[in-house]
């Protein structure tokens, strides 16, 4: 739709016309702010915890566990330097052998969700599938934050 609009504007005499082809979906998937009636309802991106600990693939589990638990967390997201999500360690994986590398200890390819998903929907999904936490990522796989089920259900409950 936007290409037709862009071409038509040019034909109407507008001299400098740009087409944001990836559109609103791309904007929202990046976790960027919107305006409108839905913007008042919390979404996964804003409720997710952006201070979640992260680690690289080659780090030693024992070192990461110490750092993660010292900061009060029981989960860590494994990412690359571009913040693309490769894996997740929740409490169970964090308790594995200290000598394992992160790529050996992590749960690879965890289910991720986009930042624009409503918190009500997230709460229902996480409860149904017993997910204690879920990475929230942009459409190109980069980490936005970690959504905890307890946060999702609490915020969804506040909306009712």
């Amino acid at each position: 739709m936007s290409p037709r609009a862009a071409w038509r504007l040019e034909s109407l005499g507008f001299g400098e016309v740009y087409d944001y082809v990836a559109g609103k979906l791309d904007w929202m998937a990046a976790g960027l702010r919107t305006e409108g009636t839905n913007a008042a309802h919390p979404r996964a991106g804003e409720v997710s915890r952006r201070d979640v600990p992260t680690a690289g693939l080659a780090e030693r589990l024992g070192d990461v566990r110490e750092r993660v638990r010292a900061s009060g967390w029981d989960a860590v997201v494994v990412i690359n330097p571009e913040r693309v999500v490769f894996g997740l360690l929740r409490s169970k994986e964090l308790d594995k052998d200290s000598e394992l590398r992160m790529d050996q200890a992590m749960r690879p390819g965890p289910s991720t969700f986009r930042p624009y998903v409503s918190i009500k929907e997230m709460a229902e999904t996480m409860t149904k599938h017993m997910l204690e936490s879920s990475p929230i990522t942009t459409s190109d796989g980069r980490l936005v934050g970690l959504l905890l089920q307890q946060d999702a259900t609490r915020v969804a409950g506040e909306q009712e």
């Binding site: 739709m1 400098e16 087409d19 609103k24 979906l25 305006e35 409108g36």
Partner: protein
């Protein structure tokens, strides 16, 4: 020929005063739109673009996605 841009270029152009235009139906605009965007559904473009938009400033159009 319109120039295709990504969201980073959208942000830069808006900072420089570009007009951001959502061409989806008005009810979709009401639910969610990019900050500062104007609603100008495709079907109203013919009759209202020249009246609503400033021809001296850049215009960025967008819809939901590439479809």
């Amino acid at each position: 020929m319109p120039t295709e841009i990504d969201r980073h270029e959208v942000q830069k152009l808006v900072e420089r005063g570009a007009q951001l235009v959502e061409v989806l139906p008005a009810d979709e605009y009401e639910e969610d739109h990019l900050p500062g965007a104007i609603s100008l559904p495709l079907r109203r473009l013919e009759t209202e673009a020249v009246r609503i938009l400033d021809g001296a400033r850049p215009v960025i159009v967008y819809c939901w996605d590439t479809a």
